[in-house]
């Protein structure tokens, strides 16, 4: 009984979650003129026109490369630093632990605002610099807290026995903690990777160089073109601007949706590999024994 309800529930949920994707896929491969008339379940006509159009965008391959680079390096750095810091905070004997931990926690709730942040980044020489994608956000309080909480839920006996064996902190961290923490590390890796992959704002604000442009900024601009124009028109009040904006062909819905597909597919390809780690981990019992 429990199973039936459970499976039925998940089946329904899957439909709810997959349908929008199916819709976008179908829309992106339909004939643009037919698609505008409305699509429900099946494509109208078939064309790869939209995909071709996106692939022809100037600098799209470089943008893809930059996005991959920042995701890979950003995630690696972030996972390492956060895991290390989370581990350190889990050690009760660390001097000043409480104070520093609170300092870290507070960063989740305060922000100086955009202008000072920009000035800070500028003073550190990070404008138009690849590192601005990976350094400022490398340590995320949220991730550190998750890891610390996870480590604390592990039996103390594990670490203690290792200590007795004479292992140093770093050895314990790399040999015992890291493997035990695989599930949570996989989790923050996914968070960080998706965060890096999806982020466009740092690109928009701090990097004007076309060589360092990311895929997401391109996507963002396509998606928000209409909104941005509408917002900017408020500033103008010039009827010529209204007219030209209305007459201007905005990016067709088909291309918008295709860009969304293209930026999401890589996540879908990588995600299932990460999943193994959430579910398996290394059995706690295995090490204890």
């Amino acid at each position: 009984m429990f199973d039936i309800v459970n499976y039925a529930f998940f089946a329904l949920l899957i439909i709810l979650c997959l349908y929008p994707f199916w819709y976008m896929l179908v829309y992106s491969i339909s004939e643009p003129s037919l698609a505008a008339k409305g699509i429900t379940l099946f494509p109208r006509g078939f064309t790869l026109f939209n995909y071709k159009k996106v692939m022809e965008l100037e600098g799209i391959y470089n943008a893809f490369f930059i996005s991959v680079m920042r995701t890979v390096t950003g995630t690696a750095l972030s996972v390492f630093l956060n895991a290390l810091l989370g581990y350190l905070f889990s050690r009760t004997e660390m001097p000043g632990r409480k104070f520093l931990y609170r300092m870290l926690l507070v960063t989740m709730y305060v922000s100086g605002g955009l202008i000072p942040y920009y000035l800070v980044i500028k003073n550190y020489g990070l404008l138009n610099n690849f590192f601005v994608y990976i350094i400022p956000g490398a340590i995320a309080a949220f991730n550190v807290i998750l890891i610390k909480t996870f480590i604390e839920s592990l039996p103390d006996s594990l670490q203690e026995s290792a200590m007795l064996d004479g292992a140093g902190y770093f050895t314990i961290f790399s040999k015992i903690i890291m493997p035990l923490c695989l599930p949570i590390i996989a989790t923050i890796a996914v968070f960080s990777a998706v965060g890096n992959w999806n982020s466009w704002f740092d690109n928009y604000i701090f990097v004007s160089s076309d060589n360092l442009r990311t895929l997401q900024l391109t996507l963002y601009e396509y998606l928000n073109e209409a909104q941005t124009l509408a917002r900017l028109l408020q500033e103008s009040g010039n009827i010529e601007d209204y007219k030209r904006t209305m007459e201007k062909s905005l990016t067709p819905r088909g291309v918008q949706i295709t860009v969304t597909m293209i930026t999401t597919i890589p996540i879908l390809l990588v995600y299932p590999y990460m999943q193994r780690f959430f579910i398996k981990g290394i059995m706690v019992g295995a090490i204890k024994g």
């Binding site: 949920l13 630093l81 290390l84 350190l88 926690l105 305060v110 000072p116 599930p183 998606l223």
Partner: protein, 286 residues
């Protein structure tokens, strides 16, 4: 070892806080700070000048916040339910599928909902052809339905994604406990209730407290996209309100003042939540 790491935190999270000083000036970008007019607490007072608006906006923010609070166990429950799927491939599939909506940006979600829920949308066509309605309904213009409709959308988009943390935590629960429970004759439901749930509690509590700290930060983008003349009254949360004022007034300092107040409120809430947890559970999170 923690020092260099905390230095990074200091450099990127604390250094920019010097900008709080902008709240006390009528700051215009480009003009050196001290050449701007010093206005003291003017912008803080301004926040409370428009009482009617502020009350409305706070009401909306609190409603969304409380709904969020009430629904905070959902991802955990969802993860437990997923954990009960025995067929492993299906479990993986469910997990991937439910995270998908998280990757669709709100703009696209809006056009999807427009397609489904607008006057001529899919839903009305179906209802109409079934003879269930004679006049089309449009939930996107229904001011009263804002709270639950936006909540449902938020859950749809975020549930699978927020469950990931719990899925990971489940794997840290000692398998021997389940084996022991089976020997004791406990069913799966009992095991879930007495082993999985308590095992996830520390994570839940931590996330809950962090969430309470974020009480006033209910988000912006979703509400921005769904705001229209008819929903405006109920959908305008604090962040959206500040965003709107910022655009029309060019008041940089006003935004900073709101930010400072929000930070203060957040930290107070965080501390209170932590103290309560300590009283109730005997351990605090920081």
């Amino acid at each position: 070892m923690a020092i260099p790491l905390m230095a990074l935190v200091f450099l990127f999270s604390y250094m920019p806080l010097f900008g709080w000083i902008y709240a006390f000036f009528d700051y215009k970008a480009g003009i050196p700070l001290f050449e701007n007019e010093f206005v003291g607490f003017k912008f803080f007072e301004l926040i409370f000048t428009d009482k009617a608006d502020m009350i409305r906006v706070m009401k909306n923010t609190l409603i969304f916040a409380f709904i969020g609070l009430a629904l905070s166990p959902l991802p955990m429950i969802f993860a437990i339910m997923m954990n009960e799927i025995r067929f492993k491939r299906f479990k993986m599939f469910v997990q991937t599928a439910t995270t998908l909506p998280n990757f669709v940006s709100w703009i696209i979600v809006f056009s999807l909902t427009f397609m489904i829920f607008s006057t001529e949308g899919l839903l009305n066509q179906i209802l109409f052809s079934l003879g269930l309605v004679s006049n089309p309904t449009n939930i996107l213009t229904n001011g009263e339905a804002v709270y639950w409709f936006q909540t449902v959308l938020g859950i749809w988009k975020g549930l699978g994604w927020s469950a990931i943390v719990y899925v990971a935590s489940i794997s840290s629960i000692d398998q021997e406990m389940y084996e022991a429970a089976v020997i004791d004759g406990a069913g799966r439901f009992k095991s879930a209730l007495h082993i999985t749930l308590p095992g996830l509690m520390p994570t839940y509590i931590v996330l809950l407290i962090l969430g309470i700290g974020n009480f006033l930060n209910v988000g912006l983008e979703q509400y921005l996209v769904y705001k229209n003349a008819l929903t405006a009254d109920n959908i305008e949360v604090l962040d959206l309100y500040v965003y709107r004022l910022g655009i029309s007034n060019h008041d940089y300092s006003y935004g900073v003042a709101v930010g400072i107040l929000k930070s203060v409120v957040s930290i107070i809430l965080l501390v209170i939540a932590n103290i309560i947890t300590k009283k109730v559970r005997g351990s605090s999170i920081f």
